[in-house]
C-alpha cells in the first residue's frame, strides 16, 4: 500500500475533525499521522492526513471529503512539491560521560536540547519525516526512554 498525504482546508468548528476522520475509519483505514490547526484565517483550519491506501479508495475518500459541507477544499500533496515537516521529542538515558557524543549528533541534525539532568537528556528535532526517522535510528543506540512525534504538516511550494 502506498502512502498518501492530504491537506484538507475546513471550517474551524466543533465536529469537523470527527467528520473528516470518520470517512477513513468507516473504511477501516488507520490514519498514520494527523495534525490540525488554525490558519491565517482563524475561521479556517487545515487538517493534514497521512494514510496508507490504494488509488481507488483514496480517490473515493477525496470525493467524499469534498462532499462534506464543512470541507472548503481538499489538496492532495502526495505527488506534488511540498515541504513536509514533523517534530519529534526524544528523551534518552544518559550519563554525563556520553553527552559530548550526543551533542555532536544533535548538531548534525540541527536538534535542540530542551531538557537536561544528571541521568537524562531530551532533544527536539524538526524536519522531513525521513530525517526524523534517521535521527531516531541513530539516537536509539543510547537507549530511548520516551519518544513523541507530532502529526505531519505539509506546505505546497510555489512553482518557480
Amino acid at each position: 500500500m502506498e502512502q498518501y498525504v492530504l491537506s484538507v482546508k475546513v471550517e474551524n468548528r466543533s465536529g469537523v475533525l470527527a467528520r473528516v476522520v470518520g470517512l477513513f475509519s468507516a473504511r477501516g483505514y488507520n490514519i498514520d499521522s494527523l495534525s490540525v490547526s488554525k490558519t491565517e484565517d482563524s475561521e479556517v483550519s487545515v487538517i493534514t492526513i497521512v494514510v496508507h491506501g490504494n488509488d481507488r479508495v483514496i480517490e473515493q475518500v477525496k470525493k467524499q471529503l469534498n462532499k462534506l459541507i464543512d470541507v472548503i477544499k481538499v489538496y492532495d500533496h502526495t505527488n506534488i512539491p511540498a515541504a513536509q515537516r514533523e517534530i519529534a521529542i526524544v528523551k534518552i538515558q544518559l550519563t554525563p560521560v556520553k553527552r559530548v557524543e550526543v551533542f555532536q549528533i544533535a548538531q548534525t541534525f540541527g536538534a535542540e536540547i530542551i531538557d537536561i539532568s544528571q541521568k537524562s537528556l531530551s532533544l527536539q528535532v524538526v524536519g522531513h519525516p525521513t530525517k526524523i526517522e534517521n535521527f531516531i535510528d541513530i539516537i536509539r543506540n543510547y537507549g530511548i526512554k520516551e519518544l513523541i512525534r507530532s502529526g505531519r504538516v505539509s506546505f505546497a511550494r510555489d512553482r518557480a
Partner: protein, 557 residues
C-alpha cells in the same frame, strides 16, 4: 423571539404543511408553539414511523419531509430512518431535542450524542450551541437537504436554546463556502456524449432514482424516444419511464428482467442517468458490461467511477443535462440491436405459473395493477413482496413507486404509505407487504385510522421471511433457520382491533372482489391478508456476486 417560536416560524416560512413526530421532555417548548400553528402535525406511534412517514411524504411529493423527535431514545429511534433516507437520497429535515447545553456530556437523563451517532447517516447535521445560530441553521438545513444530491439533515436543539431569546432574522441568504452543488453539465462532455451515442451500435439507458429525484422523467422519455434507445431502470428508478412503452426493458439487477440484464450485458454503450452502479445492479463487478463504454450523468461527483470506470462523466443535474443532450443528439443507427432486444423480450418474459390454481403472490400484484389501472401509488416493504411489486406492477409515472432501496428497511412500507397518502390525498395508496415486514411498524396502522386514510395494505402472507428462505432453499440446503414465522396474528382481527377493515383471501377467485371492496372504502385503511403460496420464489435471480450468465430463470425441477 424565543427559540421554540423561531423553529415553528422557520418551518412555516419553508412552506412546511405537514410534519411527523413524537413529543418528549426537552421538546415541550417547541410543541407548545406547534400547538396552534397551521402545520398539520401527525403524531405517529413510534419515532421510526415518523421518519419513514416523512420519507414517504418526500418521495410522493418531491417536497422535503419534516419530522421531530425528542432527545435520547426518541433520537436513536430515528437512526434507521435517517440511514434509509441517506442511502436513497431523500430530502428530510429532522429535528431532535437535546438536553440543556450545560448538561451535555454529563450522561443526563435521556441524553445521547445525537450528532455523533447520526454523522455517517446524514448529509449534514448540526448541534445548535447558540440561539443566534438557530435561524441560520434551519435555513441551511432546508437548503442542504433539498439541493445537490438530496439527503437528510438533522438539527439537534438543546432545550435551553428553545427557551432562550434573540432577534429573529430568516431573510439572510444561505452562503456556505464548502457547499456549491453543480447543476450545469460541462458542454464539452455533453458534446462528446452525443458523439459517442451517435456512433454506438448497441446502446442502452440505465436510469436510476436520480431521474425521479431530479424531476427529469419527461426529459428521459423524450431522450429515449428521440434516440430510440431502450431504457431499463433501477428499483428506485421505476416510474421514470413508462414500463408499458415498447422501449422499456423494465427493471434490471438481481431480480430484474432477463432482457434488461442481457441488454445491458451485451451493450456497447451504457448511458447511466442518476444511478450509482449498486452491487444489486451490477452483480459480479469484474464481469459487468464487458464490451460497453459508459456515459454517466450524475449530480454527485463521488458517484462517478466509484464502482465502474466511466468514459464520459457528466456531473450535474440530470434534467438539465438530458435537455442539453436532446438538443444536440442524433439518432444512432441501431435497428438490428432493437430487433435483438425485442426478440429477447418476446422469448424471456417475466414468468410465473399463471395456470396454477393456487394463489400466487405475483397474481395478486398483477390484479392490483389491473384494477387500479396502474394509477395507484405503491409502497412496499422489503423482500419478496418488494420484488414482486417491482416486477408485476407496471409503473408509468414518477413518484408512484415508494420503496426502501439502498438500506432495504423492513417496516418502511406502512409508515411511508401514511406519509404518501397525506402528501397526495387524491391518489390511492397501496402498501404491498409481507407478513414479516408488516409487523415491524404495525403500530402505525392506528395513525391511518385516526386520519381516515384509505390505505390498502395487501399482505402477501406466506408464513415465511420469504427472501431469506429463498436463499436458504437455493444455497443453504433448505435449512430454514428462523425464517418460518410459526406464530402470527390474525391480521383480519388485528385490522378490526385498530378500527380498520380486514379481509382474508385464500382463493385465486376471490382476489378481484377483495381488491375492489378495499378500494371502495374511502374513510379508513384496509388490510387484505392474502394467503399465498408458501414457498414461491422470486425469479429471475442473479445470485449475489454472480453474472447475468448465471441467472436462475425459474424453479429447477
Amino acid at each position: 423571539m424565543k427559540g421554540a417560536r423561531q423553529v415553528v416560524e422557520s418551518l412555516i416560512k419553508e412552506n412546511v404543511e405537514i410534519m411527523f413526530g413524537y413529543p418528549g421532555g426537552v421538546l415541550i417548548p417547541i410543541f407548545h408553539e406547534l400547538h396552534d400553528s397551521p402545520i398539520n402535525f401527525i403524531l405517529t406511534r413510534h419515532e421510526q414511523g415518523a421518519i419513514h412517514a416523512a420519507d414517504g411524504y418526500a418521495r410522493a411529493t418531491g417536497k422535503p419531509g419534516v419530522c421531530i423527535a425528542t432527545s435520547g431514545p426518541g433520537a436513536t429511534n430515528l437512526i434507521t430512518g435517517l440511514a434509509n433516507a441517506h442511502m436513497d437520497s431523500i430530502p428530510l429535515v429532522v429535528i431532535t431535542g437535546q438536553v440543556s447545553t450545560d448538561m451535555i456530556g454529563n450522561d443526563a437523563f435521556q441524553e445521547a450524542d445525537v450528532t455523533g451517532i447520526t454523522r455517517p447517516v446524514t448529509k449534514h447535521n448540526y448541534l445548535v450551541q447558540d440561539i443566534h445560530d438557530l435561524a441560520r441553521i434551519i435555513k441551511e438545513a432546508f437548503y442542504i437537504a433539498t439541493t445537490g444530491r438530496p439527503g437528510p439533515v438533522l438539527i439537534d436543539i438543546p432545550v435551553n436554546i428553545s427557551n432562550s431569546d434573540c432577534e429573529y432574522d430568516y431573510d439572510k441568504p444561505v452562503d456556505i463556502r464548502g457547499y456549491k452543488p453543480v447543476y450545469e453539465g460541462h458542454p464539452m462532455q455533453i458534446k462528446k456524449a452525443a458523439q459517442m451515442i451517435k456512433k454506438s451500435k448497441r446502446p442502452v439507458i440505465y436510469s436510476g432514482g436520480g431521474v425521479i429525484l431530479g424531476d427529469a422523467s419527461k426529459e428521459l422519455t423524450e431522450f429515449a424516444r428521440k434516440t430510440g434507445i431502450p431504457v431499463t431502470t433501477t428499483l428506485l428508478g421505476l416510474g421514470a419511464f413508462p414500463e408499458t412503452d415498447e422501449l422499456s426493458l423494465e427493471m434490471l439487477g438481481m431480480h430484474g428482467t432477463y432482457y434488461a440484464n442481457h441488454t445491458v450485458n451485451e451493450s456497447d454503450l451504457l448511458i447511466a442517468v442518476g444511478a450509482r452502479f449498486d452491487d444489486r445492479v451490477t452483480g459480479k463487478i469484474s464481469d459487468f458490461i464487458p464490451n460497453a463504454k459508459v456515459i454517466h450523468i450524475d449530480i454527485d461527483p463521488a458517484s462517478v467511477s466509484k464502482n465502474v470506470v466511466v468514459d464520459i462523466p457528466i456531473v450535474g443535474d440530470c434534467k438539465h443535462i438530458l435537455q442539453e443532450l436532446i438538443n444536440i443528439v442524433e439518432k444512432p443507427d441501431i435497428a438490428p440491436w432493437i430487433q435483438e432486444v425485442k426478440q429477447m423480450k418476446a422469448t424471456h418474459p417475466l414468468y410465473y405459473d399463471t395456470e396454477s390454481k393456487k394463489l400466487k403472490p405475483q397474481y395478486v400484484v398483477e390484479r392490483i395493477y389491473e384494477i387500479t389501472k396502474g394509477d395507484a401509488v405503491i409502497t412496499t416493504e422489503v423482500g419478496q413482496n418488494q420484488m414482486w411489486a417491482a416486477q408485476f406492477y407496471k409503473f408509468s409515472k414518477p413518484r408512484t413507486f415508494i420503496s426502501s432501496g439502498g438500506l432495504g428497511t423492513m417496516g418502511f412500507g406502512l409508515p411511508a404509505a401514511i406519509g404518501a397518502q397525506l402528501g397526495v390525498p387524491d391518489k390511492r395508496v397501496i402498501n404491498i407487504a409481507g407478513d414479516g415486514s408488516i409487523q415491524m411498524n404495525i403500530q402505525e396502522l392506528i395513525v391511518a385510522v385516526q386520519h381516515r386514510l384509505p390505505i390498502v395494505i395487501a399482505i402477501l402472507n406466506n408464513g415465511f421471511l420469504g427472501m431469506v428462505r429463498q436463499w436458504q432453499q437455493l444455497f443453504y440446503d433448505k435449512r430454514y433457520s428462523q425464517t418460518c414465522i410459526k406464530c402470527a396474528p390474525d391480521f383480519v382481527k388485528l385490522a378490526e382491533a385498530y378500527g380498520a377493515l380486514g379481509i382474508r383471501v385464500d382463493k385465486k377467485d376471490d382476489v378481484d372482489e377483495a381488491i375492489e371492496k378495499a378500494l371502495s372504502i374511502t374513510d379508513r385503511p384496509v388490510i387484505i391478508d392474502f394467503t399465498v403460496e408458501k414457498e414461491e420464489n422470486v425469479y429471475p435471480f442473479v445470485p449475489s456476486g454472480k453474472t447475468v450468465k448465471e441467472t436462475i430463470l425459474r424453479e429447477l425441477a
